[in-house]
């Protein structure tokens, strides 16, 4: 299984592995997602409190799985409508593979983000803002890098399956758009991940389904410009 995951990271996975998705690899991808994203999630939440790190370690893989499940049907349909030839099962498998790549990368970075956290001025200090800013920037860069690499690998696989760049690109972007759209909202529902010093440490905020990520962004933009 480790050999297969390494092949996945190298981008050398054969298109045949998608033609007959097997249960062993499916379980392997899920384990990779749980381990990699949990460990990384713990380093995100640790800045606020140890309990927050436990909560974030649970919520990070949960976010990934909920996004995959929530968008499973529409991703499968888009893949077929755009002419990729992938079935629903193959679509779910391919997306899980890309999340496994991202989670492995995030897991690999977790000692580094933990080191940054160790060096960040604590919450109570006068330089807490600097520490928070550096940490936020570091996490954004790491998650962006993991996302870019995972999508590059997914694009390579789609190209091998389909043989056409244009179709592979269309399928990838449609999946990306859908996953980002739903993923942002689910992240909002599952907040907090980092945690605010002014608010209590909670697994979920009160009434987690109330409110909307896009409405919050819109309100923030209105406050900024109007």
């Amino acid at each position: 299984m480790i050999k297969h995951l390494k092949t996945l990271l190298r981008g050398e996975v054969d298109a045949r592995c998608l033609e007959k998705p097997n249960l062993r690899w499916f379980i392997g991808y899920c384990i990779a997602i749980v381990l990699g994203s949990s460990v990384y999630g713990a380093t995100i939440g640790l800045w606020r409190a140890p309990l927050q790190s436990v909560f974030t370690a649970i919520k990070f893989p949960l976010l990934i799985f909920l996004t995959c499940i929530g968008n499973g049907a529409v991703n499968g349909m888009l893949a077929q409508v755009l002419g990729s030839g992938l079935s629903f099962r193959q679509t779910a498998f391919a997306i899980l593979m890309s999340f496994a790549v991202a989670s492995l990368i995030l897991g690999g970075f977790s000692p580094i983000t933990l080191f940054i956290l160790y060096n960040a001025p604590p919450l109570a200090s006068e330089h807490a803002i600097l520490g928070h800013s550096v940490m936020l920037l570091a996490h954004v860069c790491v998650i962006a890098f993991a996302g870019v690499m995972a999508n590059r690998r997914l694009f390579g696989l789609l190209r091998k399956m389909n043989g056409r760049d244009a179709t592979a690109r269309a399928v990838l972007f449609s999946w990306l758009a859908g996953n980002l759209f739903l993923g942002a909202q689910l992240a909002w529902n599952l907040r907090p991940f980092i945690g605010s010093p002014q608010l209590a440490v909670q697994f979920l905020r009160d009434d987690p389904l109330r409110g909307n990520f896009y409405e919050a962004v819109w309100r923030a933009l209105r406050h900024l410009f109007l």
């Binding site: 190298r10 977790s110 000692p111």
Partner: protein, 243 residues
């Protein structure tokens, strides 16, 4: 009649001595050091063999010893307890930096298309650190002369960092060579990792401060980032000089 052509070795991938061939007498640690400097390609080749663990261990031991020796020179500026504190901190910092960056190196080698075992990756990193520490020993007399000529922590800190950067540049070249030996499809990933490793090491010097100047506590009581600490030290030095 023309003489027969000479049997060609594996073509060298770099201008100087990165020929990937078996190392004679790989169990001999002194030979390993010699090959690390003169024929690093042989080290890369050996680290990919089944007996790589022994070589990797020796490289780590030599790396620790080299950094410790250079640490004595660093501590010599302040003298006293710094003569053992500086080497201890440099060794600890080196080991922690290796430990922190090893998982990401393994991931980045995979992302770069390299099919390497974990032991080969560990060995390459130990070799890189060992090579940089050997070069630091070479710089040690120069550093000592300057340390006796000035009280400026900023100047000496800059000089030590500069020597270290030169040393690690050669070390990281060895990791890049491992990538080529193992058929990397992309060099960009290892370059990104190299930048991350250098940044971690720079921050480690601040995490374990002070290394040159003496202090009441072994580790600092306040957390700071590298640049913040550096600028504060420069400002403090300027203020002290004006007085």
């Amino acid at each position: 009649m023309n003489p027969p052509p000479l049997p060609s070795k594996q073509p060298s991938l770099f201008a100087n001595n990165f020929v990937f061939e078996p190392m004679p007498d790989p169990a001999n640690p002194i030979r390993a050091l010699e090959n690390l400097l003169k024929y690093p390609g042989r080290i890369v080749h050996e680290l990919h063999q089944t007996r790589a663990a022994i070589l990797a261990t020796w490289l780590l031991i030599f790396g620790i010893a080299g950094v410790a020796i250079y640490g004595i020179v660093v501590g010599a500026q302040s003298g006293g307890a710094q003569m053992w504190i500086a080497p201890a901190k440099l060794v600890l910092g080196m080991l922690l930096s290796v430990l922190i960056c090893l998982p990401s190196l393994y991931i980045f080698t995979c992302l770069g298309g390299i099919d390497a075992q974990l032991r080969s990756v560990c060995g390459a990193l130990f070799a890189a650190v060992c090579l940089s520490s050997i070069l630091l020993i070479g710089f040690a007399p120069v550093a000592w002369i300057f340390s006796q000529s000035t009280d400026s922590i900023v100047f000496m800190g800059t000089l030590h960092l500069l020597f270290w950067v030169i040393g690690i540049r050669f070390g990281l070249r060895l990791i890049s060579a491992m990538g080529r030996f193992l058929g990397a499809t992309s060099r960009g990933h290892l370059r990104i990792w190299s930048v991350i490793f250098i940044l971690v090491c720079f921050q480690m010097t601040t995490t374990l401060r002070p290394i040159i100047a003496p202090s009441k506590t072994f580790l600092p009581t306040e957390k700071k980032f590298f640049l913040a600490n550096w600028f504060e030290t420069i400002n403090r030095s300027d203020t002290a000089r004006k007085k």
